[in-house]
Symmetry: C2
């Protein structure tokens, strides 16, 4: 009893598993990784808070408690949890509909959003509903991330140029930017554009350069990753030294010097009602992003993650964010890869990162008073443009027009109507396309390949058929979306054949017959019977047969169930006539009878 | 050119097809059917208008123009279009949210609902989107019809007892009836309960009685069908003769004596916005009911209906209703069966019925001044209780728990929260259950049956496996909802096998690989490669292979694609070791390794 309850605690608290074998080597590796990640996270966290429309310090707070809670409850050993670009954008979109950025209501709504999102993730995890995230198809995610990256980049142009601009979609945003171009602040633009160019160069050109002048590849990588920190330091110094804040360069300004504060989400039912849909979307998107990162990293070390436990880890992280001055968080791609590459071996690395960030929140915040928002905007632009990848479009076009339609819908609606509608439309269209495709399954009228016991499509092969027997092979499970199509198909074929005596449905690819399909089979049986035709089945799979035996269908069936199609043909041709061979005709390929 | 345009007109106007061969015999049969149906339709139409909260004559008007338009554009030869119970209830639910019954706004909203519903059906028909109706699974429809029948019957109790009662769901309605029981009008209740008992007896006992006293079965049937007419005549006479209208018996009262008036639906965008969702639901439910009736009847004579053309026929009928004082209509089960049994051979029978109803509207309406509403309520109760059929519940429970869940949800939500939410919830839950089921497809680790080239599930058979090779057979098409599950499954198995060198995915039941699944296969390939394991495929179907060849997957594949599983095993076992036979082990059935 005690043992089983201990193992059930361990199931929900993976820390108890890896914690027991933690040693000095793992500690050293984790500490190194934590230092690297902390340096990278400081500017990134400030920037994403800006993107979410929140005070800069909330980005740091959102990385501290969540990272520790994820370390306790999460299963990935390298995932780094905190603010990420897409979730920050979605937070801004959701909270922006309720309150003005900069107000207390705005902050309260962001905390509440994190709380609801965490609660929803926890619920999904406890009920093991992680599979719901599968309804986001890969092309839809790819399209959504690309479109979000474009919107995020566009939303930061105003910070880089020092202008006012706003809009509910990409089009409005770009028009608003174009109209404000005359008000560009030259000092801001100089900093913003320089930093942007610098960061692009760091990303593309610095590492090869360092390696050419003799640094090792690992060291070059670490230095290149510190590029954004250099940009932050240099641009802050420039603003301070030249007094640019007085010349209209917007800076982060005063940030309270403190550990994450204890905050409370709102429990107003009205606010909950307004935020629930957004919380669900943010949770699902965040979960999908996080799980794919975690899976990629785990697979590299032949480790496993448990998606349902990940839900609990991310849920705890978000609830932690709600109570510690943060906003919705998830496992980020960039920071996790850095963590992994820097050698993090256990989730403890995340906890050390949290300590590093707490120290930063306590002691470094006065130093960023003069940090220009243009630098943060440039950091975001360079980070998200790496998410923008239109190669999904030609790839989808070539592989499948249906997937192409889903990507295009997602991209266009995300750009034109916003992130929430975009991802909802993407999910709906994927499901509709799937249902549409399976609602018209591939079917083939089959006949016997001469000299064999194989039955193949009459359109593709020269096969022998019998005009009294129609055999239809259906290459899909039978369920509500295609049940009626099957009826139509059989009646169509049956009405064209005046000599018809038997219909055989060949089911080698039918993995499931749901109740709608069962009723369609009953209807087919009955209606064929009204016209004096028997209805038979062949090659039904074991589990499907088990289920059919629990219904009354087999008792009502006018024909029989045959183990193989060849048995069916021999028995039915024999039933129909003693001289069956004479009735057999060889159909040429592409016979019009088969349509 | 001329010929193709003529055939394209014929496609949209089936009248041009059957009209050319119409002869005197068909005319005679159709006329007989029309008389029988007209007699049955008069009380039914009045009653359904009452159910919809509309003036009684609108039920008659709703049968005239629609029946003629359906005769021109519809494909079923026996379908009788007009007001039906469920659609009348849905009309009352939708319109009741916008206006008070008895007001002009209420009538205008009902006309507009018919117009929107007709427009939606036409759109679906022109774009050949009839398959959308397939998303209503059979158990959901059965549950919805049963729950609607209960609500309709409960809603008529007030008319039968002569009390006031209302409620937005079954519970409220029953409470309201219970609270008003003290106000029962004894005269109304006497008529209502007598008629109800009489009609039940007519339905159950009259036909056998008539046959016992010497009438032929056909004649007995016709007399029994006229039972409601007798109830209408007798109860009207009773009210008139005993002056019961002055004693509180509610009657139909003055009804304008006219042909259907020319009416106009509203074109107010606000009203359209409020009614669109209801119009969509009514269209879909009406279409599903109508098509299943039409298909059943057509199959009995080896005729065919075209569901997409049916959409156009029903769309035209509803638009006709909107312009001629009607409300949403569809093909009704009871009236169509009567029409068919009475011998209707072409849609012209419907047109003659329309003429009969027009004559009734012109000359018979004064006679129904004293027709008690209690009689109409009783007619509805007896008609709809035949729709109530709980046998779907045990049947679904036995056959499939998932379908059972869908039925229960639909029934409970329809009863508790109303018809519109009920059917929406039913559709959503069917789709969710389908996605859930296919998101965890049946998979099996397979091994070779000794002495054969067959590969079967290690859990069910004593088979030979190789610890360096893992073969997983997946029994479902691969698409977004199960792509991640497949990844999980393969990584789970792979991490348990330290000696693993090759993974083979056996795909004989895979009818489709969508782009999400393709990317999952790419991820599996890459992640297995990270751990030094090759990824191979076997027994891929032709169309699936065609599609894979359009991607870069096959170039990246670390392993190979094998035509058969046996080829795969021979090649991979040979690759791995020259002494492969020594590595083969015979697993017992139910081996825990396979889970």
């Amino acid at each position: 009893m005690a043992r089983s309850s201990a193992s059930s605690i361990r199931r929900y608290v993976p820390l108890l598993d890896w914690g027991r074998t933690y040693d000095r080597n793992a500690l050293a590796d984790d500490l190194v990784a934590a230092v690297v990640v902390t340096i990278m996270l400081i500017p990134q966290s400030l920037a994403y808070a800006l993107l979410a429309g929140l005070p800069a310090q909330m980005g740091i707070y959102a990385s501290i408690a969540p990272i520790i809670l994820y370390a306790v409850f999460g299963t990935s050993r390298a995932l780094a949890v905190g603010p990420v670009a897409v979730v920050s954008l979605m937070t801004a979109a959701a909270v922006g509909q309720i309150a003005e950025p900069g107000t207390d209501q705005y902050i309260a709504a962001a905390l509440t959003l994190a709380f609801l999102s965490g609660g929803f993730l926890l619920l999904l995890g406890v009920f093991r509903l992680g599979f719901l995230a599968n309804f986001l198809s890969h092309p839809v995610i790819a399209g959504f991330i690309t479109a979000s990256g474009i919107i995020i980049a566009a939303s930061q142009i105003k910070h880089v140029l020092g202008i006012e601009a706003s809009g509910h979609n990409l089009f409005e945003l770009l028009v608003s930017i174009a109209q404000s171009l005359s008000q560009v602040n030259v000092f801001t633009a100089a900093i913003g554009l320089t930093v942007t160019a610098f960061l692009f160069w760091v990303r593309r050109g610095l590492k090869p350069l360092l390696m050419r002048i003799g640094f090792g590849p690992r060291m070059s990588d670490v230095i290149a990753k510190a590029g954004p920190v250099a940009a932050v330091v240099l641009s802050t110094l420039a603003v301070w030294a030249f007094g640019l804040a007085d010349r209209g360069v917007a800076t982060v300004g005063g940030v309270p010097q403190s550990l994450p504060p204890l905050t409370l989400p709102s429990f107003s039912p009205q606010l909950w009602g307004e935020l629930t849909a957004a919380a669900v979307l943010i949770s699902v998107i965040g979960f999908v992003e996080s799980v794919s990162v975690a899976q990629t990293l785990a697979a590299k070390r032949r480790q496993r993650i448990d998606p349902d436990q990940e839900l609990i880890g991310l849920g705890a992280a978000n609830i932690g964010a709600a109570f510690s001055g943060g906003y919705p968080v998830t496992g980020g791609f960039a920071r996790s890869v850095v963590n992994f590459d820097a050698g993090a071996r256990t989730p403890a690395a995340g906890a050390y990162t949290a300590v590093g960030l707490a120290i930063a929140a306590l002691f470094l915040t006065p130093l960023i008073f003069f940090l220009p928002k243009a630098t943060l905007g440039a950091t975001i632009i360079v980070a998200v443009l790496s998410l923008v990848d239109f190669s999904i479009l030609p790839k989808a076009w070539k592989y499948s027009k249906a997937d192409f339609a889903a990507v295009c819908t997602t991209v266009l609606i995300t750009l034109g109507l916003g992130v929430e509608l975009g991802v909802t439309a993407g999910v709906l269209i994927s499901i509709l396309i799937h249902l549409y495709r399976t609602s018209r399954p591939h079917t083939a009228i089959v006949g016997r390949v001469p000299g064999t016991e194989h039955y193949r499509n009459v359109l593709r092969h020269d096969v022998i058929t019998d005009r009294r027997i129609l055999t239809l092979r259906v290459d899909e499970s039978l369920y509500f979306a295609n049940a009626r199509y099957l009826e139509d198909r059989i009646y169509d074929e049956a009405t064209q054949r005046p000599d018809l005596e038997h219909v055989v449905l060949m089911c080698p690819a039918v993995n499931e017959i749901d109740m709608s399909a069962l009723e369609s089979l009953e209807a087919i049986n009955e209606r064929l019977n009204d016209t004096g035709v028997t209805f038979n089945l062949s090659e039904i799979k074991g589990p499907v047969m088990d289920r059919l035996e629990r219904s009354h269908f087999l008792e009502q069936l006018t024909g029989r169930v045959f183990l193989s199609q060849h048995q069916a043909m021999r028995a039915l041709a024999g039933d129909a006539s003693d001289d069956s061979a004479a009735d057999m005709i060889v159909l040429p390929a592409k016979n019009p009878q088969g349509k």
